[in-house]
Each structure stands twice: as structure tokens, then as C-alpha cells.
């Protein structure tokens, strides 16, 4: 018997990658392609969904070729995706009706304010576990319906389809206009504000509240089951998992027990805590979301602390300020100085997410003096990620009543040693990285492999988890307290920056 493998497609915010995993959960090959970020106006972030689909067609064959395997050796495909980003496309032609509105996009801020005053707004959070914010798909979809002539009527007639990225990819992988399957999974659906968290179906009241025709919505399925067979890219291979990227990372970190938590450092950073089969509602600015659902088993829920801007602050530093030529160089630059020199950067580029949820906040750099060099700025960039982590850990501890004893981390920024040490220093618990840093992809692969029997059970997956690195807190308590206060004062300076009338003019 020739060896078989599981392929995962991670459709992320900045790139699409394909990773081939073997039976021990080891990475065999990886291929990646970045796509264009479009910023047509301040606060707007768009992707071309067709470009993303083309990239899938490029990276998957490349990863297979690199691994030296053929489609016949692929046991299943799993998909992990950037969440909330909203695509609406024509069912007949497969062409998107508008650029995809990305999760960081804040164009819906006035819409969200109007909706917040509408009847039914208070009940919304009970159904869907989320605060009304620009972040989620529901408002973005409503915006598209409002601003694309004739779209609402076409949606009612079922001529156009809505989906987040996994829906878009699965539809295209299974034939597109020619019989493509239109479905989503519980984790992605739990980010729309349209799903009933307990019943795991579209909630009629939420659909009515946002004014969204049911005919355009995908069918909600579990995160780990055989949805269908691919006819494009990897013809004949079963598509057996879909999860939002953060939930995929929770799965890849084998956080299968209530109380298990992980933080993934990517474009943004996301701390998720497994709360078992009951949704827990937060009183400290965290989200209630579906962690995963395996086939017909009960769904597992999670509390989530979402931070919008972490890795993308480094990208901004690289691409917009051009102070470094590659992302890892931020560490080199930051090490040219011993501390932040009194400078703090609060990257409220899309407002602030957890635990503040301030759409009107915008970024600040404070504490500037003639003393500050680009090295201090680089430090401040990395420290922003550390302090934002601390804020969501505090909220998580308060909501769950548990004290986090170690923080499991993953994602590209875990390669940054200075940052990981700083996170350990400010969160004041050890930070641990597992052997596979690519846990988003690994989680999608695990869920797909589980669905087709490639891996037998969760216990088997858990035995694949090994510690690869551990950073222990070294910061002096007094320094930590002082720096924390400075950070909090810097955060307060971001509040209320966007005036209501400016938002109205932008509309």
C-alpha cells in the first residue's frame, strides 16, 4: 500500500496555502501564495475572491508536486479559512457581484450604530453570542444588499449566493455553476450573527433583523464530515472538513477538553478557550462561538478573545513605513535597543476588538520624543501584541473563573523569539509552542482525517502534540505593573477618535 496523506487548504487573510500532512501529523510539504489587499478607502479592506480561487488552483498542485505524491494518495481535503469575510456571487456564472468585504473592514460602522438602536438588537446577542460589530458577516452582507443595485431582489430569487471563504471554495471545488455544493460549517456560521448558537441553524429573527433573504444562505453542516467529492483542483478527493481558521487552530492544538486554550498569532491574534458542550456568555468583552462539531456529535463551544491587529502591524511597518524589508527583521531592529524608550503603539486600525469593542477608536503612537529611534518603534510594535494578549487573558480569566497556568501559542509570529519572551513576561505565565507551528492547517487536516477514518479518534491526535519551545516569565513585577499602566493609558487615547458625523459622511 502506498502512503496516503491529508491535504489542508488554509485560505488566510494575506495568503492561501496548501500543506500536506502525514499520518503522524508531520508537515511534508507546503506551498503558499499571497493575494492582493485592496484598501479603496480608509477603513475598507477588500479581496478579489476569484484571485483567491485561482491561487488555490496554483498552491495545491505545487504542494503535491513538492511532496512527490498524486491525488490518488490524498485521503481527504480539509479547509481552514479567514473568518467573517463576506462573498456574494452569481450562482449561474460563478462571478462575485462585488469585491469580498474582509473581516477587518469597518465600512459598516454607521450601519452597525443604526442597527444597534433598532428593535430586536438586545435579543441578538442571546441568539448568536456576539456583540453587534463591524467585524461579523451579517452587517457586511446587509451592506452589500443595500449598496448593490438589484441585489436584494436577486438574493430573494436565489440567483446569488452568500458565503464566507470556505463556502466559496467548496462551491468552486465541487463544480461551481455546474452543481457546486453550497454549504458552510458551524464554526463559520457562528461568526455571521445569523446562526442560533444552540440550535445550530439560521435564526429567523436574526435574518429578519438584518433583512437577509434565506434563499442566499448556505446549508450549515458539522466541521468534520464528508461534504462531497472535489471535481476541480483535486478531482475525486473527498472534502471532509471546514473550520474557521481560529477554530482550526484550537483543534490543531488538540484543545479537546473544557479549559484547554490556545492563542494563534497571525494577521490578528485570537485566544480561544474550550468551554465544552454548553455556550458560556461573556461579561468581559469576549465572544461566544462554536469551537467545532464532529459529525453528528454535540457541538463544542469556545470563548474567544479577538485581537484585530498584531501580525498586520508588522506588515504595516514593513510595507507602509518601509522600515524593514521582511517581517522577521522586526526582531533584529527591535534588538538594537533595550526597551521601548517610553513609546507605545496602539494599533486600533479597525477600531479595537476584544475586550474593548470600540469601532470608533483609531490607532495612536504615544510617548514620542526626540530620543525615539526606529528601534524603539519596532519594540513598540511587538509589545503591542504582548499587551493585547494580556488584555484578553485577563478577560478570559474573569469570565471563566479559572487562572490560565500556561499559554499555548502557534502561528507565524511564534518564530519571533523576542515577542514570545515578551508575551511570557507580560502575561506572567509560561508560553509554550507545540511541535507544529502551523496549527491552523493541522487542525483542518485533523478534522478531515478524522471524518474519513485516516485518524481513529481524538486521543490518537492528542498523542501527536509535543512541546517544541517554552518561554518563562522574566520581567520584574514592578516593571510589568508600570508598563501595563502605560499601555492602558495609551489605549484610552485611541477612544472616540472617529466622530459620528465623519462616519455619516463616509457612508
Amino acid at each position: 500500500m502506498t502512503d496516503s496523506y491529508v491535504v489542508s487548504i488554509d485560505q488566510g487573510t494575506t495568503s492561501t496555502r496548501c500543506i500536506v500532512f502525514d499520518r503522524r501529523g508531520n508537515l511534508v510539504s507546503v506551498a503558499q501564495r499571497e493575494h492582493q489587499q485592496h484598501f479603496p478607502r480608509p477603513g475598507w479592506v477588500e479581496h478579489d475572491a476569484l484571485e483567491i480561487w485561482r491561487n488555490v488552483g496554483k498552491v495545491v498542485p505545487r504542494a503535491l508536486a513538492q511532496a512527490g505524491i498524486v491525488a490518488g494518495q490524498v485521503a481527504a481535503i480539509g479547509i481552514a479559512n479567514q473568518r467573517e469575510s463576506t462573498v456574494v456571487w452569481d450562482r449561474r456564472t460563478g462571478v462575485p457581484v462585488a469585491p469580498a468585504i474582509i473581516w477587518q473592514d469597518t465600512r459598516t460602522d454607521t450601519l452597525v450604530e443604526t442597527l444597534a438602536r433598532a428593535p430586536g438588537a438586545e435579543d441578538l446577542r442571546q441568539h448568536c453570542g456576539l456583540p453587534l460589530a463591524t467585524y461579523f458577516s451579517g452587517p457586511k452582507l446587509r451592506w452589500l444588499l443595500d449598496h448593490t443595485p438589484g441585489l436584494y431582489e436577486r438574493a430573494e430569487r436565489g440567483e446569488v449566493l452568500f458565503g464566507t471563504m470556505e463556502s466559496w471554495l467548496i462551491w468552486n471545488l465541487t463544480g461551481g455553476p455546474d452543481g457546486g455544493l453550497h454549504l458552510t460549517d458551524v464554526t463559520n456560521a457562528s461568526r455571521t450573527m445569523l446562526m442560533d448558537l444552540r440550535a445550530l441553524g439560521w435564526h429567523p429573527d436574526s435574518l429578519a433583523f438584518f433583512g437577509i433573504p434565506a434563499a442566499m444562505l448556505p446549508e450549515i453542516r458539522s466541521s468534520s464530515e464528508v461534504y462531497g467529492t472535489a471535481t476541480a483542483v483535486l478531482p475525486g478527493v473527498r472534502i471532509a472538513a471546514a473550520l474557521g481558521d481560529q477554530q482550526a487552530a484550537l483543534f490543531g492544538q488538540t484543545c479537546f477538553a473544557p479549559g484547554d486554550a490556545k492563542c494563534t498569532y497571525g494577521t490578528g491574534s485570537f485566544l480561544l478557550l474550550n468551554t465544552g458542550t454548553e455556550p458560556v456568555h461573556s461579561s468581559h468583552g469576549l465572544l461566544t462561538t462554536v469551537g467545532y462539531q464532529i459529525g453528528g456529535q454535540p457541538a463544542v463551544y469556545a470563548l474567544e478573545g479577538s485581537i484585530a491587529i498584531t501580525g498586520s502591524l508588522v506588515q504595516w511597518f514593513r510595507d507602509r513605513l518601509e522600515l524593514i524589508s521582511s517581517a522577521p527583521e522586526i526582531e533584529t531592529l527591535a534588538r538594537t535597543v533595550d526597551d521601548n524608550g517610553g513609546c507605545y503603539i496602539v494599533p486600533a486600525f479597525s477600531g479595537l476588538f476584544a475586550p474593548h469593542w470600540r469601532s470608533e477608536a483609531r490607532g495612536v503612537i504615544v510617548g514620542l520624543t526626540s530620543y525615539i529611534t526606529k528601534g524603539h518603534l519596532a519594540r513598540a510594535v511587538l509589545e503591542a501584541t504582548g499587551w493585547q494578549t494580556r488584555e484578553v487573558v485577563d478577560a478570559m480569566n474573569a469570565d471563566s473563573g479559572l487562572e490560565l497556568t500556561a499559554l499555548r501559542v502557534d502561528g507565524g509570529m511564534t518564530a519571533n523569539n523576542l515577542l514570545m519572551q515578551f508575551v511570557a513576561d507580560v502575561v506572567a505565565v509560561p508560553v509554550v509552542r507545540p511541535m507544529v507551528a502551523e496549527t491552523v492547517s493541522l487542525g483542518a487536516a485533523y478534522a478531515a482525517g478524522l471524518a474519513v477514518g485516516y485518524w481513529p479518534d481524538l486521543e490518537g491526535l492528542r498523542s501527536n502534540w509535543h512541546l517544541a519551545a517554552r518561554w518563562v516569565p522574566k520581567m520584574d513585577n514592578a516593571v510589568r505593573a508600570e508598563e501595563r499602566e502605560n499601555w492602558q493609558r495609551a489605549v484610552e487615547r485611541t477612544f472616540g477618535w472617529i466622530k459620528p458625523e465623519a462616519r455619516a459622511a463616509n457612508e
Binding site: R24, N26, S326, W471
Partner: protein, 255 residues
């Protein structure tokens, strides 16, 4: 005397042209100035761009000298970038071999540990990124010395410290070992630094084959070596595969 390599002479001319020009130049301008076919000029400029000697302006599409030229004398690959690009291959090496993995580069005559993956047995281990190792007594260091004549001479002219009685401390034994490493493409260390410990390492190559670092595993002698005290061939193969995978990534288009 061997003949002149035409494309290198032309590449040098293009660099001179860009250096003396007051602004950026387009492919057409470069081709006309040097009386080259546009396709020929484009091929050379693209290669120079790949190695970082030439940069293209995003908006105008015109070319200028690249930042890498200014840093020719210093290390051309940032160590944090090396870690970032090798992390995906160091993890599977540790998982497959069952041993701790380190990546090192030379810094002022010592081996700087730029990346460290724990032995995958979930025991308590300490991250030693940033620590310095003696180059003559470690597999990582010997690999780096084998491909850096200057550093090797400096070590041999000094007085290499004997950590154990197996440490190579004479110029003759060290020089012979480095030749063997170049022939084999990998290095081993067997109780040369610490009694009971062994290691295997191989070179990580960047553009044009330049060695930019070394990746290796280390562990107890009885696990790393067979009964004859030779490094186990499967482990050597894992190390070399990982080194090749990182090298391939570094040689590919810039991230």
C-alpha cells in the same frame, strides 16, 4: 586561462550603469546603453534582482541598485529571517528523529544558536536561542567552519579549547575533519563537547549555494550513534533532508 563568462561581464556592466545613473533605469534604457537585446538585459536584471543586487520600483517598474549590495561585507541573511524560514522544517526533523534540533550561524568566531526545538518527549528543557557554542567542538560549528575558510583559519590559529579528550584541537585534525565534512556534506560530533552526547549537522545554503547556517540534532550517543559509534544513517538522512528543504525555501523567490 579560462575564457571570460559573458553574462557575468554584462551583469557587472549593468551594475556599473545603475550605480552611475542619477535616477532609476528601465529595461529599454539599460539594453540601449549596453547595446544588448532587451530579452538578454531583462534576464540578467531579473537574476540580479533575485539575489538582491538590483531592486525594481513598484510604481514605475524601473530598476536601481539593491540594498543587498550595500551589505555585501556583512551577513546577508538576517538570523531572525533564517529562523522564521526554517521553523517549518526544524519541527518535523525533531518529530521524526526524536531529538532536539538547533540551527546555528557564525557570529564573531562562535556558533550563535538562532533556533532551538525541544526533544519531543515533553520533558522540561530550556530554550537556548541566543547562546553561543564553540565551533570546533560541535557538529553545527564544524559544518559552518567547513564552508568558511576565514573562520576556520582563525579557529586553527587560536588555541581551541579541549572540552573532552575527543575534542579536535590541532590544526591538522581539524583541517582533515573539515575536508571530510565538505566531501560528505554533513558533520558529526561524538563526545567532543560533552561526554555521552553526540550530534549530526548539515549546511543550509542560500542563493548561489552560499552556506548561511547549519541545522543539526543532538542527543545521547547511544541514540544518535549505532553500536560501532557511527552516526545512524537514518538520522543523517533526516538532517540532510531538513537542510535541503530549508535551502530550497531560501533559494526560492524572496518572501
Amino acid at each position: 586561462m579560462p575564457g571570460q563568462v559573458q553574462s557575468i561581464a554584462r551583469a557587472a556592466a549593468i551594475l556599473r550603469l545603475l550605480a552611475s545613473s542619477s535616477g532609476r533605469l528601465g529595461i529599454g534604457e539599460i539594453a540601449r546603453s549596453l547595446d544588448l537585446a532587451k530579452g538578454t538585459a531583462h534576464g540578467i536584471v531579473r537574476t540580479l534582482q533575485d539575489v538582491g543586487f538590483v531592486e525594481q520600483d513598484k510604481t514605475s517598474g524601473k530598476y536601481q541598485l539593491g540594498a543587498a549590495l550595500l551589505h555585501l561585507g556583512t551577513s546577508y541573511l538576517d538570523v531572525n529571517e533564517l529562523r522564521s524560514r526554517s521553523i517549518n522544517w526544524a519541527d518535523p526533523l525533531a518529530a521524526r528523529s526524536g531529538e532536539a534540533v538547533r540551527i546555528g550561524t557564525l557570529l564573531d568566531g562562535k556558533v550563535l544558536v538562532v533556533h532551538h526545538v525541544f526533544r519531543p518527549d515533553d520533558t522540561l528543557q530550556t530554550l537556548d536561542v541566543g547562546s553561543l557554542l564553540p565551533p570546533h567542538a560541535t557538529a553545527l560549528g564544524k559544518v559552518l567552519l567547513a564552508y568558511d575558510v576565514g573562520a576556520a583559519n582563525a579557529v586553527m590559529q587560536g588555541e581551541p579549547e579541549p572540552y573532552t579528550r575527543r575534542t579536535l584541537v590541532t590544526a591538522r585534525t581539524l583541517s582533515r575533519a573539515l575536508t571530510a565534512i565538505r566531501d560528505n556534506g554533513w558533520a558529526a560530533e561524538i563526545e567532543e563537547m560533552t561526554l555521552g552526547e553526540a550530534g549530526i549537522a548539515a549546511p543550509i545554503r542560500g542563493y548561489g549555494g552560499l552556506v548561511v547556517g547549519a541545522i543539526g540534532l543532538s542527543g545521547p550517543v547511544d541514540r544518535v550513534c549505532d553500536a560501532q559509534r557511527h552516526p545512524r544513517p537514518t538520522l543523517v538522512a533526516y538532517v540532510r533532508d531538513a537542510a535541503r528543504a530549508v535551502s530550497r525555501d531560501l533559494g526560492a523567490a524572496r518572501w
